[in-house]
Amino acid sequence: MQLKERLQDRVFSLAASILILCIIMTFIFPTQFPTVENFSQLLLNLSIDTIVAVGMMILLISGMFDLSVGSIVAFSGGLAGYLMYYHDVNFIIAILAGLSGSLLIGFVNGWLIAIAGINPMIQTLAMMGIVRGLALMLSGAGIQNFPYNFIYIGQSKLFGLQAPVWYMIFIVLLFSFLVNRTVFFRRYYFIGGNERAAKLSGIQVEKMKIAAFVLSASLAGIAGILLSSRLGAALATSGRGLELRVITAVILGGASLSGGFGKIFGALLGALFMALINNLLIIGRVSGYWQEIILGLVLIVAVGLDQWLIRKMEK
């Protein structure tokens, strides 16, 4: 229990780190960092990653992960774009088709992992390639010139913030409530903590696992639709590397690869922390050569420090 509490404290320690980082950046870059324009841009840029990270957090809580989410982002936007551009399909139907396709991918992933017993890494790695191929077939060299109503979904603004930021806030609040307050989602902690005990206590683990993959893929599908709408283009290259970025953010946010831990707000804070580091590197004009190195080091330091604190507490 003490260990669990300590790990869940990551939300608070990460929030404190973010606050300190913001204060330091305000002093170093007083004219560039603390501006409304920069913050609204920063939130917009982390919105897609955060929406996907919410689904990934639920998977990691239950001790699984999905490497195909980046490809699903490209696929859902690509399918919706393909239907609207080449077949003049109404934008609502096109969006529903993109989301249904993503949901189906999630179901196939979940079924093959939970029922057929395929290892999640192998299954989702294979699905990553298959779905990326489908996205390439659909989007080709990129699809543009979408109907205005579709563009509206991702490019309209409310109180100065672009729509994807509001979708992100809504999804984080909704799933935070569901994971904290509903029995259904609380069961994922039991599954991640001890799958056999969860099974023995009557939880339908296989069905829960399928549901988690369906949920994660559906959120990736929503992110893909929002990204296409925001860019005004469906790109086959969208979401490349997103899966690793999202897993990094979720682990920074307090999840454990072995399952049983994590909070939805942790996913948001992990993505925000990474976006802040990225923003710092761009404002500080740090060359792209260093960006990957610095982000990798940040992850090692953050997780390493956490493990060190846990060991110290256990002693």
Binding site: Q41, Y152, S156, L235, I282, Q291
Partner: protein
């Protein structure tokens, strides 16, 4: 409770600011008058930013970025190179959008994908002189474009390939599928080959800009089509990969290879007779002249009116196609001498 939710939702919808309506078109520049920031004095803190994706790609580092940094040194201004290290177009868009609030003196943006158009529009709307280089970005409002015509590069490869294989046989091509410029190149190649009814185009393949993948694809193609006459490459790593597999299969000279770019590795393969033809880009020219355009726009070097910015005139060329460099065995030594000097 429901009434409260309905009220909040209605408030959201009513307060929502819709995005501007753009007529879909193939125009690359704005039809409205351009406004941009100018300055009479050159300051050493004046900053020009180059934004690309795959910022560590050797082709970009040794050509585009080298010329850009040299230009900055010569002009006495600051130059910064930013962008994601992977081929990540949304990452490039995020970088552009995060650089805009800092209001640099000029933005030199690699035209990696049409999806970056909206970010370029934002930079132009913020009054930052903006030049797109390498590949054109339609509907982006950019102030100027300088770069290559990829369709033409494909067409040139197609015509040379047809001549190399005597107008008959099976031809394949490879590059990065899904990239606008390469798809234009594939189209140029295919249309050039269509003029020769005895040539069978067997398909385009994704080598993911990776030498090992290009070599594996070529080996598979050679196994599946023992009578393959030629392969055309469209990214920097296609040529070396194709050449490796052809050499390993002892088919040097039997399978004709053409590709893009003229790095020392490509030149050496032409010298060895493995690759028959290269179409190079004048990459240094993109970034040197592109940066100079930004500088001239910022400092009103050649004014066309009392105040070009206020008059809505862009005092630099709107579109510059730098053309291609054609290299084969007849002139490769001259290029190898130059590569040796570098």
């Amino acid at each position: 409770m429901h009434k409260y939710i309905l009220f909040v939702l209605s408030l959201f919808v009513l307060c929502c600011e819709p995005p501007p309506r753009y007529e879909s078109s193939d125009y690359t520049t704005s039809l409205t008058k351009d406004k941009f920031v100018t300055s009479n004095e050159v300051s050493p803190t004046e900053e020009y930013v180059m934004i690309t994706t795959a910022v560590n790609l050797p082709l970009y580092v040794s050509h585009d970025q080298k010329a850009f940094l040299q230009w900055g040194k010569k002009m006495g201004v600051r130059t910064s190179i930013l962008g994601p290290s992977e081929w990540d177009v949304p990452g490039q868009i995020a970088t552009i959008e995060q650089v805009i609030p800092g209001k640099p003196a000029g933005l030199l943006i690699n035209g990696t994908d049409p999806g970056i158009a909206s970010a370029i529009k934002k930079a132009v709307a913020a009054g930052i002189p903006t030049v797109v280089y390498d590949s054109e970005i339609p509907n982006s409002d950019r102030h100027s474009f300088i770069g290559s015509d990829w369709y033409e590069m494909g067409r040139l490869q197609g015509e040379r390939m047809a001549s190399l294989i005597g107008g008959k046989g099976k031809v394949a091509c490879m590059g990065i599928l899904g990239m606008e410029n390469m798809e234009a190149g594939f189209k140029g190649l295919q249309e050039a080959l269509k003029k020769f009814p005895s040539i069978e185009f067997i398909g385009k393949y994704d080598d993911k800009a990776n030498v090992e993948t290009a070599a594996r694809l070529t080996a598979d193609l050679l196994a599946a089509h023992p009578d393959l006459a030629g392969i055309a490459g469209f990214d920097s790593n296609s040529g070396p990969g194709m050449a490796l597999a052809v050499k390993e299969a002892n088919k040097k000279g039997k399978v004709k290879l053409t590709t893009v770019d003229a790095e020392p590795e490509h030149l050496q393969l032409v010298k060895e007779g493995v690759i028959s033809y290269l179409v190079g880009q004048k990459r240094e020219l993109f970034t040197w002249l592109g940066a100079q355009f930004l500088f001239d726009m910022r400092h009103n070097t050649l004014p066309l009116s009392a105040n070009d910015a206020r008059a809505g005139i862009v005092p630099i060329p709107r579109t510059v196609i730098t053309g291609s460099i054609e290299i084969d065995l007849s002139n490769v030594d001259i290029f190898l001498q130059n590569a040796g000097k570098k």
